[in-house]
């Protein structure tokens, strides 16, 4: 037990669902936790999801409980807009150097929103995968935690503009705020660094980036979300038209030696879920799913069965070879070899969703240790890292869905606790 009554300190890198869960689980078992997140908000990828499969429930429901725990827990320190630069020391006694970017808005912010009106600068809305814009001072999204505005200093015109300053009654904006470097001594480090969607422009034959109506699955989540660029209405990007047909292209990059060799684990369920988004809004839309294998393990099979009962969802087993665009209409033709009949299947649709895969986030941290982090050929951190107290969890380790991330984060919190207990004697 250390001086503050805690059982040791754990650094969690990444504030997505894995990091948030690991932080809470470790803290509830008695550890002190530093939770470091590079974005201005917690929740990572999951807060950009419209719904979770298979319950089709909003992520913010569970996150509300998690955030309430974080708000009231004296044991968790959250550092947003922060990245771990360096870790030194040795097993069970690490020193982390954390760089914090300036938020431009201090703790006096009440999230009243007066600044937004005054700000003259628009920026691409990264939260919405650049479909739409926000002001240079913005709230990342409605349920953001922390509920504070933030300034995009790449877009902000700085003190010369300064139009936001006089409208803030709370003296909460600081256009000259400096970043800082924080040092922390911890017994254990959890890499909960998560994932990024595979860059679909790499797969040239699928036309992403050139055909406007080809979007990725993560974009589709935003298109279906109330907080998204279309306020939750699924409209195709080229002309904001309501859709009558749509194709989901599975393994867009995954299970492919030219791109990602691994299976991304969640994209089948992701697309099955998105067929429900479409069906909710368009009772008559024709939906096509091109797949190699549909992977809906365990009880998720129920969801697949339910989608199969939809007569206007057609499953085509075959890998998509090419997507072409009719320039005039913006419509698309999907070509695939139907693996069952051996024939070439072509299908014209109004919109295509590429089920792009999961790439582990690189999160470059300089390790001033005698060893290096072990990654596999796909870039995922391996289960057994070479030194005690260096741990990986969630999608940093393998491509998995939310429930599996939480499960892994929970177990990893115990591994972290063990290192703390060894060090502090419980």
């Amino acid at each position: 037990m250390s001086d503050n009554g805690k059982r040791g300190k754990v650094l969690v890198i990444g504030g997505g669902i894995t990091g948030v869960s690991a932080a809470i689980e470790a803290s509830e078992a008695g550890c002190e936790v530093i939770l470091v997140e590079k974005e201005a908000y917690l929740g990572g990828r999951v807060v950009r999801m419209n719904q979770y499969f298979p319950k089709l429930c909003p992520p913010s429901c569970g996150l509300e409980i998690n955030f309430r725990t974080i708000r009231t827990s004296p044991s968790i320190t959250v550092l947003t807009q922060s990245e771990v630069e360096k870790i030194s020391g040795g097993p069970g006694q690490y020193r982390a150097t954390i760089r914090r970017q300036p938020r431009g808005v201090n703790n006096k912010c009440t999230a009243c929103g007066a600044c937004v009106e005054a700000c003259p600068v628009e920026r691409a809305d990264k939260f919405n995968y650049e479909m739409g814009t926000t002001k240079a001072i913005y709230l990342p999204f409605q349920m953001a935690h922390p509920q504070q505005y933030v300034i995009d200093f790449d877009a902000c015109e700085g003190p010369e503009c300064g139009k936001c300053l006089p409208v803030c009654p709370y003296d909460a904006i600081d256009l000259e705020m400096q970043g800082q470097v924080v040092e922390e001594e911890v017994q254990s480090v959890i890499w909960a660094t998560g994932w990024e969607p595979y860059d679909a422009t790499q797969i040239e034959n699928l036309g992403f980036g050139t055909h406007k109506n080809v979007v990725t699955n993560v974009m589709m989540e935003r298109l279906a979300s109330d907080g998204g660029p279309t306020k939750g209405k699924i409209l195709r990007p080229s002309d904001n038209k309501e859709i009558e047909s749509i194709a989901f292209v599975q393994c867009a990059g995954s299970r492919d030696e030219n791109y990602l060799e691994h299976c991304s684990g969640v994209c089948c369920m992701g697309s099955l879920k998105q067929t429900r988004y479409v069906r909710d809004q368009y009772p008559d839309a024709e939906i096509f799913v091109f797949y190699i294998d549909i992977r809906s393990p365990g009880r998720l099979e129920d969801f697949y069965q339910a989608v199969q009962e939809d007569e206007k969802v057609t499953f085509v087993k075959g890998k998509v070879a090419k997507i072409t665009e009719d320039a005039a209409s913006g419509n698309l033709v999907v070509e695939a070899e139907d693996a069952l009949s051996g024939q070439l299947a072509t299908q014209a649709v109004e919109m295509v969703v590429l089920a792009t895969g999961i790439v582990p986030t690189e999160a470059p941290v300089t390790l001033e240790l005698d060893v290096e982090l072990q990654r596999d050929s796909h870039g995922f951190l391996t289960n057994d890292q070479p030194v005690a107290g260096l741990l990986a969890a969630g999608c940093a380790k393998r491509p998995v869905e939310v429930a599996a991330c939480v499960r892994d984060a929970t177990g990893t919190a115990l591994k972290a606790l063990q290192t703390c207990v060894e060090r502090h004697g419980g």
């Binding site: 689980e25 509830e28 078992a29 008695g30 979770y52 319950k55 429930c57 992520p59 913010s60 429901c61 569970g62 509300e64 409980i65 309430r68 725990t69 708000r71 009231t72 009440t110 999230a111 009243c112 409605q142 349920m143 509920q147 009654p169 709370y170 060799e261 691994h262 294998d293 992977r295 809906s296 393990p297 009880r299 998720l300 099979e301 129920d302 069965q305 499953f315 087993k317 069952l340 009949s341 596999d376 050929s377 391996t382 289960n383 393998r398 491509p399 998995v400 939310v402 429930a403 939480v406 499960r407 892994d408 929970t410 177990g411 919190a413 115990l414 591994k415 606790l417 063990q418 207990v421």
Partner: protein, 754 residues
């Protein structure tokens, strides 16, 4: 804290448009004149250093209760949390000024009502004091297979004592029957060799772990932190009794019974075996077909044998694809002349296991064919004919085989606590010598449910059954996306294959997670704090039993099995089982269950504190009871978006819709409110209620409310229950406004002013 010693201060924040939209002086007068609060002030910007500093000064001078009227309690939570000081927040920002016309009479009335409710709540509430009990921190692990051994070792490594109970005469479970595991290290092509001996030795040499083999549980009494376990009079540790703090249930799985797979040749064809039999043969180093002992040259694996099949196991057993990949490559390793065919619906090798699949595909002697196997029959001699159909393209093929391996799936080795309870209850009715219809029903139940007799595993002495309740397909668990370990029995965590089909590696992950949940349980119980989802809550239900009428509603409705009952039916709660949802409080018709900071009386007083305009004012008054986890944040978000909701309504947050006591409805109607709306979370199979049954129970209770309304000759529409999601900001406002209009149309509550 004694109520008489309470020293209350009221603060009104003028920031975030509150000062410009409301008459703050008039608000202060509500506190000072109506409630005689001596310390009452306002501040331009209360959450700033100066404002907080002033509050801290007052606390130093003896203030121990605060009402802060400003933003929602979901914001500045830590700013306005002061040790040893009870704090109530009146939500003037999101619920009033951001969602209503500024400086309007009705907006002012609304703000004043929220302040009144806050003051009354602060006056009636007390700071919770933790429930104190002597807590044992030992962890019981039921099942000594992969998951159980992992949970035990991982808990012990964190410094906890562990007892393992295993019904077999040795540890290992399925691991003892497995020699090769799926690869878990890059390049994910090489199997892991099981070293069970080393694992068992590690356990045996660990001073913190006690193992009872050949042992089963006779009974478990008590609750988290104080479970008293008795073992059956057999095996190692026979009849022994000991105390533990929490439980990991790692009782594993059974293979799906292949006798049900006659259509796939099992039982009819000698050379149709299961993947379990294949594993044994491969481990023995030789694959021989049963009929003649010859080594098969053509082996066919039939995937999803009984899985993904509505007549058998509707779910996917998740591991069988990879088991067949392993066994196919193993068979080829043992006999390079053998050809292997894998007939599958979908090959499910997620993540890096794609590499493993590819390794099998790269083997020139392994062939994969998609199709559904409809029949396996004997052809010439002992050889087999496998009929494969593909319904998509209407193709029918036949494959010959020397040996067919059925990839049978996983069935959880769990007991259905609720079913066993029903069976036992029926037995009791018969034993009691009841007569008539009750006896007949009981007889039918006993007959129909006879198979449940003797299936108990945990043997919990819980009114609601001796084992965890089962959910779909007999897996015990609850809210499985965000909080996958939460069972409906506090301090008991299913792990591994009993919770979901899982591979050995997944079992380790799962068991490690369950172990920390078990650890948290004993640590939080020691501090008198609640577990998920009300982490850290120190309040707990207090039962005033002198007034109990033994109606048993609390014991029936508690989703967590907190309350047993004695022979007369008087509730006997075990507080460490409690999750603090308040559903028992909502259920109790005698209003004898209360928390220090949440009770029927506190909420009733808040309802009564609202000024209800009289019948000549033409200003209806509506009450809204909001689930604090979902509906409340949704209304906050609506306020953020400046969506305007009816000025007639006053909202009170509730811990769960299930905690709503219908006396509040009666109170509100008697008080002259014109309508009451209750908004909670989704119920049903895909429930989103964090207390599992809260909103469902409210649905049932609202039936009784409708009866009452009828008796009073009031319109049904005056009381409404809605289920919404946390993201339904706009819909929520629509629902509120529709309700308000509907009540306008119906007209005033005729009991107003009586």
């Amino acid at each position: 804290m004694d109520k008489t010693e309470k020293k209350l201060a009221v603060w009104i924040c003028k920031g975030c448009d509150i000062g410009e939209s409301l008459d703050v002086e008039a608000l202060e007068k509500v506190a000072s004149d109506e409630y005689k609060v001596e310390l009452c002030g306002s501040h331009e910007f209360l959450c700033g250093d100066e404002g907080v500093g002033q509050i801290k000064e007052q606390i130093k001078e003896g203030v121990n209760a605060l009402v802060i009227a400003g933003c929602s309690p979901r914001f500045q939570t830590d700013t306005f949390t002061f040790d040893g000081c009870l704090t109530e927040r009146a939500n003037l920002r999101e619920f009033v000024v951001w969602s209503h016309e500024p400086n309007a009479e009705d907006t002012q009335m609304m703000a004043e009502d929220y302040l009144r409710m806050g003051i009354v709540r602060a006056q009636k509430s007390e700071l919770p004091e933790p429930f104190e009990a002597e807590i044992d921190k030992t962890i019981l692990v039921v099942g000594g297979g992969q998951s159980g051994m992992t949970a035990a070792l991982e808990s012990a490594k964190a410094g906890y004592d562990v007892v393992i109970i295993e019904k077999q005469d040795q540890l290992g479970g399925w691991l003892a029957k497995t020699t090769r595991l799926f690869p878990k290290k890059p390049p994910y092509k090489d199997v892991e060799i099981v070293d069970l001996e080393a694992r068992v030795k590690e356990i045996e040499e660990n001073d913190r772990i006690t193992v009872h083999t050949s042992a089963t549980i006779a009974s478990i009494n008590g609750g988290p932190g104080m479970f008293d376990v008795s073992l059956d009079a057999n095996g190692n540790g026979a009849g022994s009794q000991f105390r533990v703090g929490s439980i990991v249930q790692a009782t594993g799985w059974k293979p799906y019974d292949p006798d049900n797979l006659g259509h796939l040749g099992y039982g009819n064809c000698a050379n149709v075996i299961t993947n379990v039999q294949m594993e044994e043969m491969a481990a023995a180093g030789e694959i021989r077909r049963p009929s003649d002992g010859k080594s098969p040259k053509k082996i066919v694996f039939v995937q999803c044998a009984g899985s993904r099949d509505k007549d058998h196991l509707p779910y996917c057993s998740a591991v069988c694809c990879r088991v067949s990949l392993k066994q196919a490559m193993w068979a080829r390793e043992l006999d390079s002349e053998a050809e292997v065919f894998v007939l599958y619906k979908d090959i499910r090798a997620p993540g890096q296991y794609e590499d493993y699949y590819k390794a099998a595909q790269d083997d020139p002697g392994i062939f994969f064919t998609k199709g559904e196997v409809v029949a396996v029959s004997n052809s010439s001699g002992d050889n087999l004919l496998v009929d494969v159909e593909d319904t998509l393209i209407d193709k029918h093929i036949q494959v010959e085989a020397d040996l067919v391996v059925l990839a049978t799936g996983m069935v959880p080795a769990a007991a259905d606590g609720e079913a066993i309870r029903q069976f036992r209850d029926a037995q009791k009715v018969i034993a009691k010598g009841e007569e008539g219809a009750q006896l007949e029903t009981a007889k039918v139940t006993v007959e129909e449910m006879a198979a449940y007799e003797g299936t108990e595993i945990l043997n919990l002495n819980y009114r609601q059954g001796p084992d965890l309740p089962m959910l779909k397909y007999d897996f015990p668990d609850s809210h499985f996306i965000c909080f996958p370990f939460e069972s409906r029995r506090t301090g008991i965590y299913p792990a591994g294959t009993v919770r979901a089909p899982n591979d050995m590696d997944g079992c380790c992950e799962d068991a490690t997670g369950a172990a920390i949940k078990a650890i948290q349980c004993v640590e939080l119980a020691t501090q008198g704090k609640a577990m998920h989802p009300r982490w850290g809550d120190q309040s707990y239900p207090d039962f005033f039993l002198q007034r109990c009428t033994q109606c048993k509603r609390c014991t029936e409705e508690c989703p967590f099995g907190t309350i047993n009952e004695d022979e007369k039916g008087t509730p006997d709660p075990t507080i460490t089982r409690c999750r603090r949802c308040g559903i028992c409080m909502g259920a109790c018709p005698e209003r004898i269950i209360s928390f220090k900071d949440y009770s029927v009386e506190i909420i009733s007083s808040m309802i009564k504190a609202v000024e209800v305009p009289d019948e000549y004012d033409e200003k209806p008054r509506l009450l809204g009871l909001l689930c604090e986890n979902d509906a409340y944040p949704a209304l906050d978000a609506a306020g953020f978006k400046r969506l305007q909701h009816s000025e007639w309504i006053r909202f009170i947050p509730v811990r769960c819709l299930g905690s709503v006591n219908i006396v509040w409805i009666a109170d509100a109607l008697a008080q002259g409110y014109d309508g009451i709306i209750m908004i909670g979370c989704k119920s049903g199979d895909d429930y989103q209620c964090h207390f599992i049954r809260g909103s469902e129970l409210m649905g049932t209770r609202s039936g009784n409310i409708q009866e009452k309304l009828k008796q009073l000759a009031l319109e049904d529409e005056r009381v409404r229950v809605e289920q919404l999601e946390i993201t339904d900001h706009e819909r929520l406002v629509e629902v509120i406004n529709e309700f308000s209009e509907e009540i306008d149309d119906i007209g005033m509550n005729p009991f107003k002013g009586l």
